[in-house]
Every structure is written in structure tokens, then in C-alpha cells.
């Protein structure tokens, strides 16, 4: 027993500094944990009962706010009697993430599995066919919108990013120069600036009679913004391919196009998977910014749900923790996908 515990004891109490740190952390835990436990669990109100929550005066958490506002926070202003559609859309996207993260899908099949659900989600949310009531995009919101912008943004940005990365290796200096300018421009500005451009400038660019909803304009901005970052990742991957690979492919009689398609790109995507997943995580978090151009995804619908409601607004922090947990889980799930993509199908 003593030998098993010895290294732990050495690390916790080995010298004066370690001992002091151990005591400090334990003391802080003893001070902080009991009140936290009292607030979060023992004194907390779990029923959606505003009077009981107000009576608590923050001596306990009011988790009732989550029960009361969950529909609005998760689905935004989407019409209530059509709720199954956003739920199904979000379910599809989450299911594809779960399937790739924990299932046996890998390689090309995984990329298709991740790109398809956002494409299916759009008609499902929009309706207007087969008896589905049309729902304008301004009313889409909450978690389905967050997922749609993330999955759709990545699905659009990856092919564009690959094309830009190849374009920047072109022998044509004019093409290289234009693409370099685009990538540096997109990477140099904050996403908010790109969203303002989508909101205020894009409508001016379209000819008369063509009016694109804010959602599509924002998605264009997100795709162009993310593609610049993805192209840098792919470009790095292309540079890491050893020339011997190309020679070997040529010796086997593969055309240049076949070489890229079957030899180079699979290796690049496999090696770049962790960086691509980091970009997906960054995009997932960045979708919260679309609230500044009046699209109410998860973060925006949290504000919308509580802003005008004096009764429930004091319990913002509890509702906030609910959203934060969702984002946290989403990030963890996307991080797992990065480990799954390189697997052979």
C-alpha cells in the first residue's frame, strides 16, 4: 500500500512548495465547494415556478428557468406547432456527428455523412412542399440554426478551401496573387466585420429583384471566411507531400488529376484532420456572432428569451450555464470527429 501511494505523496507533499500548493488547493475547495453545492443542488428550485425562484433570492439556483424557456432557447422563434421539424433537423446533424465520432464511418464516407445533413435540413426547416407549411428563414433559430451554420459552413468551405489551396500553387501569377489577396483579407479581418459586409453591403451588390435572405448572406460570409482558413491548412498539407509520391504515381501511369485525386488529397485530408476539426470547433463557437446581425441562434435566442421578461431575467446565469453546457458538449463531439476521419473506411 505504501509503495503504491509513495509517488503520489511525493508529488503532493514532496517539498515545501508542493505541500503549500496542496494545502492551498484543498483549502480553496473546502471554502468554495459547500456553498456551490448548496446553490446548485440543495437550495435549488427545479420547477418552472417564478414565484419560488424569486423567493430564493439567489440563495439557490433556479433551474426552473431552463424548463420554462427551453423550447424558446433551443428552437428560437420557429412556430410552436411545427416544432418537430427543427428538432428533426438538429437531430439529423447531431446524429451524423455522433455516427462519425463513435461509429465506424471513416474516410470519404465520413465526409459525405457530415456534408449531407445540413443540405437535407434546409428544405425540412423551410417547408413549402409536400404539405409542410413554409417557414421564413427569419424565424429559424436556436440550436438547429447553430448546427446548420456550422455543418453547412464547413460543407461549403472545405471544397472552396481545397480549390483555393490548389489555385495558390498554380503556375499563373495573376491567379496566385488574387487568391493570396483574398486569403490574407479574410484572415486579417474579424468575423464581425465580414458579417456586417454580408448584412449591409451584399444587398447592394445584387441586381434588382434579387433579394437574398439574411441567413443566406450570412452563410456566404461564413463560407468565404472559413474557406480562407481551411485553404491555409490544406496548403500546408500539400507542401508536406514528398515529391517521391508524385514520381511514383507518374511511374504507375496515373494522370496528374488521378494522382491528386487518389494519392495526394487523401493523404492531405488525413493529415489535416486535427486542424480541420479545430476550424470546425472555432466555427461552431463563432456562429454565436451572427446574433449581431439579428439571426437568433443559440446565443441570440438565449438573449431573446430573457431580455424582455422581467420575471425570469434575474436567472440569466442558470439559463447561460445550460447553453454553455451545450456548446461544451458540441466542441467535445467535434474534437472526437478529428480522431475518426483519418480512420480507413
Amino acid at each position: 500500500m505504501g509503495t503504491v501511494l509513495a509517488p503520489i505523496r511525493r508529488r503532493l507533499f514532496g517539498d515545501a512548495l508542493s505541500t503549500a500548493l496542496t494545502l492551498l488547493v484543498v483549502a480553496a475547495a473546502l471554502v468554495a465547494l459547500p456553498p456551490l453545492l448548496r446553490w446548485a443542488v440543495l437550495n435549488a428550485v427545479f420547477r418552472p415556478d417564478a414565484a419560488a425562484c424569486t423567493a430564493l433570492d439567489h440563495a439557490g439556483a433556479c433551474w426552473g428557468v431552463v424548463a420554462e424557456k427551453a423550447r424558446f432557447i433551443l428552437l428560437g422563434r420557429y412556430p410552436g406547432d411545427e416544432s418537430w421539424r427543427p428538432i428533426a433537423a438538429a437531430g439529423l446533424i447531431v446524429a451524423s456527428w455522433l455516427a462519425v465520432a463513435f461509429g465506424r464511418i471513416g474516410g470519404r464516407a465520413a465526409l459525405v455523412a457530415l456534408a449531407l445533413p445540413p443540405v437535407v435540413a434546409v428544405p425540412l426547416l423551410g417547408g413549402g412542399f409536400a404539405g409542410l407549411a413554409p417557414v421564413p428563414t427569419e424565424l429559424w433559430g436556436g440550436l438547429p440554426l447553430t448546427l446548420l451554420l456550422t455543418a453547412g459552413g464547413m460543407a461549403g468551405a472545405l471544397p472552396l478551401g481545397i480549390a483555393v489551396a490548389y489555385g495558390r500553387r498554380s503556375k499563373l501569377p495573376v491567379l496566385r496573387g488574387l487568391l493570396t489577396a483574398y486569403v490574407e483579407l479574410a484572415r486579417g479581418i474579424p468575423l464581425i466585420a465580414a458579417l456586417f459586409v454580408a448584412s449591409f453591403l451584399l444587398p447592394l451588390f445584387f441586381p434588382d429583384g434579387v433579394a437574398l435572405d439574411m441567413l443566406w448572406r450570412v452563410l456566404i460570409a461564413i463560407v468565404l471566411f472559413a474557406a480562407a482558413y481551411l485553404s491555409e491548412i490544406i496548403r500546408g498539407g500539400l507542401q508536406a507531400i514528398r515529391p517521391g509520391q508524385l514520381d511514383a504515381a507518374a511511374a504507375l501511369g496515373l494522370s496528374p488529376w488521378q494522382t491528386q485525386r487518389w494519392i495526394v488529397l487523401p493523404q492531405v485530408l488525413r493529415a489535416a484532420a486535427p486542424s480541420l476539426a479545430n476550424s470546425a470547433i472555432a466555427l461552431f463557437k463563432d456562429t454565436s456572432l451572427v446574433t449581431v446581425v439579428s439571426l437568433y441562434e443559440l446565443t441570440g435566442s438565449l438573449g431573446l428569451a430573457l431580455a424582455g421578461d422581467g420575471e425570469w431575467r434575474p436567472f440569466y446565469l442558470e439559463a447561460w450555464l445550460f447553453i454553455a453546457a451545450i456548446y461544451w458538449l458540441g466542441c467535445a463531439l467535434l474534437a472526437r470527429i478529428s480522431a475518426a476521419i483519418p480512420r480507413q473506411p
Binding site: 499563373l172 495573376v174 464581425i192 447553453i323 461544451w328
Partner: protein, 320 residues
């Protein structure tokens, strides 16, 4: 000239023509839209009175001052936030990064929890929480929390000892508020705390990855030479890890500058929110947004130049 070369030139000429044609089309469409809406274009509005003031400003500003001055004040507010933010984020990030690499299991666990919690929640959401805590949960200024002698925290912000009209002043409670010293607004504090913690979590992770990516032989060799673990870390591992960590760390600090634009969401008047206000008042979207884009591109270029010089300095062995 070879046919191949000629065709390359032809293709490039076509690309230039296509891009120029697209730009011309966009320009004429935009011009006709602006004419329909009766919006004049041009940068002359910069010299006209702004017609708005800012909630707080590093440069004193009246509604009668020019729009140009308002933009300058917005930029000054961005810098006033991002420069101390970058320094604090670097400090905290290095501290947490060391914690992540510590032998002490509790310290390592705490540092890990810090990184995991703050990296996986959107920055905007974190800023909203800090702002809620600072404006809704704190006591009013007549019952301000006294953090230290002369340092008071309340709904109206943080009061600090600072040079005022009467020389160096120490804030004191007076009537319904606090008198003297300097005041940091809740908007500024929420932005600063949020940006520093979020960026620090990234910097800590970069530092940990850089140290752990070193070949294990480095550590073993240092230990075999009789160095203590602490000497090994300070004299062998850290100097090498710095070189690998420097480019991603500077890119995080540049991100902090870009993320300062999230100020628009909680009402801190940074450059982007000044541009937004001016855009709403004048309707000159193209002008206002191109100013924002130009300023950020210049900041990025300046940042890239600084980091390039730093890297060369470090690669020459300037840091030990």
C-alpha cells in the same frame, strides 16, 4: 515565345478581364442602388459632425466633433482594451501553461479544467456572462465591494487610485457613489476579463503542446547530467519550446485584437461599434466598413511584422 507561354498569358488576361468585369458590374449595381435610396457616397462625411457620443472614450469626444475623430476614438478604445489585454493574456497563459505541465496533480488538474472550460465556450457567451455578473449581480455603487484600500467594485465599475485633477487620488465612498481616482466601466472590465481568460486558455495549451512535442531524449539527457527537474524545465525544455510556441502565440494575440470587435455585443464603443453607429446614421455602409477593414488589415500587417522580427530574434538565440 512558346505556345504554352502564350496560352498562359491569355488565360491570365481572361482572369483579369473577368475579375474587372465582375467588379465593374458590382460597382454599377451598387451605384444604382445607392442612387435609388438617395444615399450619397464619398468620405466627406468624415469631416462633418458625428452627431453621437460614445459611452466612454480614451479621446474626449463631443457630438459636434467630426466623424473622423469618432473613428479615432473608437480605434483608441480598441487599443486601450487590446494592448493591456494582450499583455495580461500572455502572463496568465504562461502561468496556466506552467500549471498544465506541473508535476503536482492538483495544480495540473486545475489548469486543465481552466483550459477545457474556457476554450470550449464561445467567447461571445463568456463576455455576456461577465457583463451580466458585473452589471446585475454586483451591489450598487453606494454599497460597493471594497477589494483593497482605495479599490471599489460595484455595478458602476471598478474604482482605482489614479492621477486626477487633484493629483494622485484615492477613491473614497461619498454619498451615493465613489469619489476620486479612475473608473473602469463594466463594459470595459467584461471585455478585458473575457478576452484575457479566453486567450490565456489558448496560449496555455500552445505552451503545453510545445513542451510535450520536444523529443523525450532532451529531458532524459538533462536529468542524466544531474539537473533537477526544475532546472531541466527552465534551462533545457522551456527555451526550445518558446521557439516552437512563438508563431502560434503571436497569432493568438492577433486574434485577441480581432476578438476585441465583439465589444459591439455588450456596448463597449470600440472601432467596429463606432463604425456600426456611424453606418446607421449616414447609411454609408461601403465607406464605414472599408475603414474598419483597412484598419484591421493594417493592424494584422503590423502584428505580422512584429512577430516576424521576434521570431528572428528568438531563432538567433536571443531568448534563454
Amino acid at each position: 515565345m512558346h505556345a504554352k507561354q502564350l496560352s498562359r498569358i491569355a488565360v491570365q488576361a481572361l482572369i483579369v478581364l473577368a475579375v474587372a468585369g465582375l467588379l465593374a458590374l458590382l460597382a454599377t449595381t451598387t451605384a444604382s442602388h445607392l442612387a435609388q435610396r438617395g444615399i450619397r457616397s464619398g468620405f466627406d462625411f468624415l469631416l462633418e459632425p458625428a452627431g453621437f457620443t460614445l459611452g466612454e472614450s480614451a479621446i474626449p469626444l463631443d457630438a459636434g466633433d467630426s466623424t473622423l475623430l469618432a473613428f479615432a476614438a473608437g480605434l483608441a478604445n480598441t487599443l486601450r482594451l487590446a494592448l493591456p489585454g494582450a499583455a495580461l493574456a500572455l502572463g496568465l497563459g504562461v502561468l496556466v501553461g506552467f500549471g498544465r505541465l506541473a508535476e503536482h496533480p492538483l495544480v495540473r488538474g486545475l489548469a486543465r479544467a481552466f483550459v477545457n472550460a474556457f476554450r470550449n465556450i464561445p467567447l461571445l457567451l463568456q463576455l455576456l456572462a461577465w457583463y451580466f455578473i458585473l452589471t446585475d449581480l454586483l451591489p450598487a455603487s453606494d454599497a460597493a465591494l471594497r477589494l483593497a484600500p482605495g479599490v471599489f467594485l460595484s455595478k458602476s465599475g471598478l474604482a482605482l487610485p489614479w492621477w486626477g485633477e487633484a493629483g494622485f487620488e484615492i477613491p473614497e465612498p461619498a454619498g451615493f457613489g465613489i469619489d476620486g481616482g479612475a473608473r473602469l466601466t463594466p463594459e470595459y472590465l467584461a471585455m478585458l476579463i473575457g478576452l484575457v481568460i479566453y486567450t490565456a486558455a489558448y496560449i496555455a495549451e500552445i505552451l503545453r503542446a510545445a513542451v510535450e512535442a520536444l523529443p523525450p531524449g532532451q529531458r532524459l539527457a538533462a536529468l542524466a547530467m544531474g539537473m533537477t527537474p526544475r532546472q531541466t524545465f527552465r534551462l533545457v525544455l522551456l527555451p526550445q519550446a518558446w521557439r516552437a510556441a512563438l508563431p502560434p502565440v503571436t497569432s493568438q494575440l492577433l486574434n485577441l485584437f480581432k476578438n476585441a470587435s465583439l465589444a459591439v455585443a455588450i456596448g463597449y464603443p470600440d472601432l467596429v461599434s463606432v463604425a456600426g453607429t456611424s453606418l446607421n446614421q449616414t447609411g454609408r455602409a461601403i465607406e464605414c466598413l472599408s475603414i474598419v477593414i483597412a484598419v484591421y488589415l493594417l493592424l494584422s500587417l503590423a502584428g505580422a511584422a512584429v512577430s516576424h522580427r521576434l521570431e528572428r530574434h528568438v531563432l538567433r538565440g536571443g531568448v534563454a
